[in-house]
């Protein structure tokens, strides 16, 4: 430390530095969009989501936040995201349930059921890199954006429901108000402003990690480095951009 530094100056600098680092650090968690200047450039991004299965406690806040944020019908037949509970019994049988999509949490497991292990798996649109839903749409109403998100143009969708049939993950539904297809958009309106998707924002255990592929500063990069990564139904060759860490083979 230089001798001519005053105690006040030293403290000021020492406090400012980590504060600045923190500010920029948080910015990096959202991949720095908030700090970026100028108009949004879709081609500069490639969004993805990580799901750390071990962390999910099945509270259902994510599914609830999603419904609120995206004006999804509250009835339990329309979900952009939902949580499944897997209960693996001693005899190897697997029970799966998702009452109300997991919103409001899960009831206790039935008395006397010999469950060996139980865990929760949040599900959502996998924003596939090779999306079968986009392939089948006869009018191109559903499309892949440059930043890798699959969106639906509800003013163009003819409501043929072919995309719903083509999605291997059950991630799409028809909104009865518009009679057009609807699905998770990674909260596109939020992420292009540098914010997190609503489900990620509310998750109390940081099960959901939002970030960008191919960007080392992204928290997703860290998750990929530290855990074994799986995707749902890899045999479908859809190349999902929702990545699961430590996922059981039972999960489909």
């Amino acid at each position: 430390m230089p001798k001519d530094w005053k105690r006040r100056e030293f403290l000021a600098k020492f406090i400012k530095l980590p504060c600045a680092a923190m500010v920029f650090g948080v910015g990096a968690a959202g991949d720095g969009e908030a700090a970026e200047e100028g108009p949004y450039q879709a081609e500069d991004h490639l969004y993805a989501m990580g799901i750390q299965v071990d962390r999910c406690i099945g509270c259902g806040l994510c599914a609830e936040a999603c419904k609120n944020e995206n004006d999804v019908l509250k009835e339990p037949f329309f979900f952009r995201t939902w949580i499944e509970r897997y209960s693996i019994r001693v005899d190897g049988e697997v029970d799966v349930d998702s009452p109300g999509g997991g919103i409001g949490g899960f009831p206790p497991l039935a008395e006397g059921s010999e469950v060996m292990r139980s865990f929760f798996v949040p599900k959502l649109c996998n924003q596939c890199d090779k999306p079968p839903c986009v392939q089948v749409c006869p009018v191109g109403a559903t499309f892949k954006t440059e930043d890798g998100v699959i969106l639906v143009d509800e003013s163009y969708c003819i409501g043929c429901r072919y995309c719903v049939q083509a999605c291997p993950y059950g991630a799409r539904y028809i909104d009865p108000r518009t009679l057009t297809a609807d699905k998770c958009t990674f909260c596109y309106h939020r992420i292009i402003k540098g914010l997190q998707p609503a489900c990620v924002e509310v998750c109390p255990t940081q099960t959901r990690v939002f970030g960008e592929l191919g960007r080392r500063s992204s928290p997703l990069h860290r998750m990929k480095r530290q855990s074994s990564i799986q995707v749902l139904k890899p045999a479908m060759n859809t190349e999902p951009k929702v990545l699961y860490s430590n996922l059981d083979g039972e999960v489909r």
Binding site: C137, C167, I174
Partner: protein
Amino acid sequence: MSELLEHLEANLQQVTGYIYPNEIELHWSLLVVIYPYVTGLVAGAFILASLVEVFKVKEVASTYRLALLTALAFLIAAPLPLLAHLGHPERSFQIFLTPHLRSAMAMFGFVYIWYLMLVLLLEIWFEYRADMVRWSSERRGVMKLLYWVLSLGSRDLSEKAVRFDRKAVYAITLVGIPSAFLLHGYVGFIFGSIKANPWWSSVLMPIVFLFSAIVSGIALVLLLHYVTTMFRRVKPDMACFNKLASFLMYALIIDLSLETLDFIHRMYESEESIEILAELVITKLFISLTIVQLLLGTIVPIVLLAIGRFSRIPDEFKRVVFFIAALLVQVGIFSTRWNVVIGGQLFSKSLRGLTVFKMQLGGIEGLFMGIALLILPFVLLWILVKLLPPWDKQEAN
């Protein structure tokens, strides 16, 4: 919307195992069952007509025009169930204006237009041209004008012109056969290419669709031939009935063989989905697949047709046997479409549970609408037969 929610609530109560929450609503219902059924009848009836034209099957020549008109009547009706089923039918023109070329469904418009305009209408026009010219000179008033318009102002009845008509019909038929194969093979591809659905995803799907289409088309022409012969009080042409019955029987045997191959292949490969599909077939589809499609719709008709063809029973009785067989075939093929379309949505893509399908009576997707859409092509056919009588030629002969 409240009706839909009530419907979904009721469905939810009957789900067994686990299904994804978005799967409680079945997306393709009765109208989408009717669409491949009707399209199949078009392709089948046309292929039968083509047999007459290209392979010169003399015995069934008397059904040629009837088969063509049947194909046209059903083709006109074919897009209606699809249109009615869309959430936004008013936007359907976008399929033509901005088709997404990688989508199988986007090709529908083009396949349809090609088949309607370039194959069926053209073939029927050349087939009827000389007659329409004659009718427009024989008739008076509106009908005269109508036939003149339909013949597009053509007046030439010279031998050369009539010979050209025959050549044109022959050439169009040659293009028409692969087109008919395309039309229905394509419908099969719409289902067969959905990898997410193990019940649909099969390379055999277009082929199975095609042969079941041929079966249903032949059976329909046989039924119509029977009914029209009866109402016209003409002497039944037994050679024609026998030939139609033979064709129907052979087509049924091929169809059954393909379905059996599909079944054995699935069982033998025994992929991840086999358990849920087995459960589906044993429980939800037992009646519509095993009883109606396989037993009543395929095996019983094959036996009946074989009895009709190879046993010595009186002709009158024989025709009734053929009629019953053809009727059963129609029920069976409708069931086939049902089992594909509805069956493919009764199990979850999580492969862990089954859901139910409850048909509604009223509404766009309801039973009454379905019945109306199935009656409509017969009304259209009646009009076409009145306008372009398919029997004039023979009676003149």
